[in-house]
Amino acid sequence: MGVTPALDRRVVPVDPKSQDGWVTSRLDFLVNWARAGSLWPMPFGTACCAIEFMSTAASRFDLSRFGMERLSYSPRQADVLICAGRVPYKLAPVIRRIYQQMPQPKWVISMGACASTGGMFDNYAVVQGIDTIIPVDVYVPGCPPRPEALMHGIIMLQQKVMRDRLRDGTLHTEIEPDPTSQLYIPPSRIDELSEPFGNSVNQTRSNP
């Protein structure tokens, strides 16, 4: 029969002997690879950790190796909020608003002891860990952390980004705070997170 069937354009013809120009991959992997390799950080530097962050961004440690050399000073073009330094209560609504202005998907690195826990500032003025205000993905310990520690945190964040799945929509939906209290987590949890420990007055955790 001399009639050739119509070409089905949905089918890609594969010639096993010539595979030039073809790569097969998972869409997940490609998207995550692109995202993880070009995270734009929004630096929120309030204290000495910001000095270490500057060192990390400068030529010796060279943040651009991670695709992060484009620091975004507007939250609307940022992917990662790097909170470097202690956050007083007066700044709590500011960092909250910056976080809410960032587009999805977004991540947060809490850099240093003060941002993560309040550090040595267990007093009336300092937020006891920014995880009581905004969700945090990576905590970098140190006072302040060395640039290597921050880079380790960034690599951990990249690994977390690589584990994202497109099917799982919950990862990238905006979390709304409780409308009455404006808190993301219940007050009892905040009190528990802020409970003092270590060498401070009225110790409650390390008492024998």
């Binding site: 009336y124 009892s188 802020s194």
Partner: protein, 237 residues
């Protein structure tokens, strides 16, 4: 390693064993600033006492005549205290001791430093006169002192909190009866802090220099005008 050009470090004691600084200033009882004698001569009973500590003179005065004294120290040609360094307060742990409000004055021309103190009993009302009509720079210093200690400055045009936010409910943090972690639970503190509006705290008058343009120094006005002519912007009106 020794540095040959530097004098030998002092042990911090005078030959007779009393503590002193490397330049020989005694801890207590040094020479008084000449302004202390001038004040005693001019105001008499308004001066409680004067003392010298590490070469710095402190004059305790009565609160009623404080404003008059500061005005005189600023205007009198032989004194000319033209720089208000700081306004602060001290509360001692001893509950019997009064709260002290402290003014640090400096006369740049005469190279003098003077510390004025007013003692306020803790049980009374903590009110002192504002010196903002003598020193414009007292504005934020007095606001900070009010914010931290709750001392009211009579005559201050805009006495409100400056470091803490305006709806801060917990009191005055540098007072001795203030618990270090504040009075409320952490969740309650966070809730109240998040309820503040960051933009409402600043009036636009504080952020703009437009209204102050006429009172700026001549060279600054020239520079601003030149900038405006160069960039063609609607800068300062």
């Amino acid at each position: 390693m020794t540095a040959p050009n530097l004098p030998a470090p002092s042990s911090g004691t005078a030959p007779d064993g009393t503590p002193s600084t490397p330049r020989g200033l005694p801890h207590r009882g040094g020479a008084l600033n000449p302004s202390a004698d001038a004040l005693a001569e001019r105001f008499g009973d308004a001066i409680v006492r004067s003392e010298a500590t590490w070469g710095e003179t402190t004059v305790f005065v009565h609160v009623e005549s404080l404003h008059e004294i500061v005005r005189w120290l600023h205007d009198e040609p032989t004194q000319r205290y033209d720089y208000l360094v700081d306004v602060t307060a001290v509360e001692y742990r001893d509950a019997m001791r009064p709260i002290e409000v402290v003014w640090h004055l400096r006369a740049l021309g005469h190279r003098r430093f003077l510390r004025l103190k007013v003692e306020l009993p803790k049980r009374g009302t903590l009110i002192v006169p504002s010196v903002i009509d003598v020193y414009c720079g007292a504005d934020w210093l007095e606001r900070e002192c009010y914010d931290m200690f709750g001392i009211k400055f009579d005559g201050h045009p805009d006495l409100r909190r400056i470091l803490l936010w305006e709806n801060y409910q917990e009191g005055f943090p540098l007072r001795k009866n203030f618990p270090l972690r504040g009075r409320f639970s952490r969740a309650e503190q966070l809730k109240q802090a998040l309820a503040q509006d960051p933009e409402a705290r600043y009036s636009m008058n504080e952020l703009t220099i437009a209204e102050a343009f006429d009172s700026l120094p001549e060279d600054m006005r020239r520079r601003l005008a030149a900038d405006r002519a160069r960039t063609g912007e609607e800068g300062v009106e």
